[in-house]
């Protein structure tokens, strides 16, 4: 039946490519490792330089880059299907909801004073 032909397609399963995906080569692993070490040293060194309010910004920015490298390459997300990336993104997005909405309460307390 025509229907069965349709059902034979990959509609039924979210086909995971993760078992067939390419893996990073040895060289790539070591390169990423090097980048992480460099990032860590940079974070440490920059901490002793006065950038005013930008110190934590820079430190966290480098941390985000390092985390992204670990996620993409060590955790193979770069080579996984879209569902995996959506899952990772959802996690950080939800954390952002918690942080920003809570912070918005604290930061806006001085904006409107009620008499």
């Amino acid at each position: 039946m025509a229907n069965q032909m349709q059902s034979h397609s990959s509609q039924a399963q979210d086909h995971s490519k993760s078992s067939e995906h390419a893996h990073p080569t040895l060289g790539l692993y070591f390169t990423i490792f090097g980048a992480l070490i460099v990032g860590t040293c940079m974070t440490w060194a920059i901490a002793f330089v006065d950038l005013g309010a930008f110190n934590p910004v820079v430190a966290l920015a480098i941390a985000c880059i390092k985390a992204t490298l670990v996620i993409l390459y060590f955790m193979h997300v770069r080579y996984s299907d879209r569902m995996t990336m959506v899952t990772v993104a959802a996690g950080f997005f939800w954390l952002l909801i918690l942080i920003t909405l809570s912070l918005s309460d604290y930061l806006s307390r001085s904006l409107i004073t009620v008499h």
Binding site: T43, V49, I71, F74, L98, S102
Partner: protein, 269 residues
């Protein structure tokens, strides 16, 4: 309308070749591997939210009590923190290499890299233990229950030279609060710094707890790897163990700047 058929028309593997690790409710290894990996990522989502809750609370207090947090941060050793970060990153590399070796079926390399990862993890925990001991001696354990208490709250002598920066804040309360009541503002600052240490111990403690569990998982994986269980057709447990270990690494990647590097430039040297 539902039709009944004898065979499942999912993938090509309708042969009866049956990998010993295939669970009965899955149709084939690919489905099992995909489900397991996806499940691990979903679990990781929950871990992001759990640590995230702590991070959110920490951020709010850091904004509220910035000076006290600064003082607390500078009293923990940035050198040890930096060294530990390098150790953990190295262990992430060895873990990734263990997965790489497992995928190739190279039994010797798998086991070697897994054991290296565990050694590096143990080194990390050892350094953390040393840091905790330092905090114990400096009377920086928050609360009145463990150890000698926190600064003057529990009885530690504020003139003790080991107390360093926090004692400075307490001896010079003019920057913090009402200068006409030096004792009150000093106490306030001390309380706020105590909160920093509450977060320090809660965050690094939760992280260390996850590392201990990680070491347990790695031990189990190493034993299975030694018996040659993993190869190109089936190495999912190693991959999942790797995902867990990398996650714990990522948490530390954020913990290090957040806890150790608050405004270091003012206390250079």
């Amino acid at each position: 309308m539902v039709k009944r058929r004898d065979l499942v028309s999912t993938n090509q593997t309708t042969t009866t070749e049956h990998h010993p690790a295939l669970a009965h409710h899955f149709d084939n290894m690919e489905q099992q591997q995909g489900a397991s990996t996806f499940g691990m990522w979903v679990f990781m989502l929950t871990e992001i939210m759990m640590f995230g809750g702590l991070f959110a609370a920490y951020l709010i207090y850091r904004l509220k009590y910035y000076d006290a947090f600064k003082a607390g941060s500078t009293s923990i050793s940035v050198s040890w923190g930096f060294a530990n970060t390098l150790v953990l990153i190295a262990s992430s590399l060895t873990m990734a290499l263990a997965v790489w070796a497992a995928q190739r079926g190279d039994r010797k390399k798998q086991v070697t890299f897994l054991i290296l990862t565990m050694i590096l993890g143990a080194v990390f925990l050892g350094v953390k233990a040393k840091e905790y001991k330092d905090k114990w001696e400096e009377c920086h354990i928050p609360g009145h229950v463990i150890g000698k208490g926190f600064n003057t709250w529990g009885g530690c002598d504020v003139n003790n030279p080991k107390l360093g920066n926090i004692a400075d804040e307490m001896r010079d309360p003019k920057e913090h609060g009402d200068p006409s009541i030096p004792e009150v503002s000093a106490i306030q600052t001390a309380k706020q710094t105590e909160i920093f240490f509450s977060f320090y111990f809660a965050m690094t403690g939760l992280h260390a707890f996850h590392m201990v569990i990680g070491l347990g998982l790695l031990t189990w994986l190493t034993l299975r790897a030694r018996s040659g269980e993993f190869g190109p057709a089936y190495y999912t447990p190693v991959e999942l163990g790797g995902l867990y270990w990398h996650f714990v690494d990522i948490v530390w990647i954020y913990l290090f700047p957040l806890l150790y590097l608050i405004s270091r430039h003012q206390h250079h040297g």
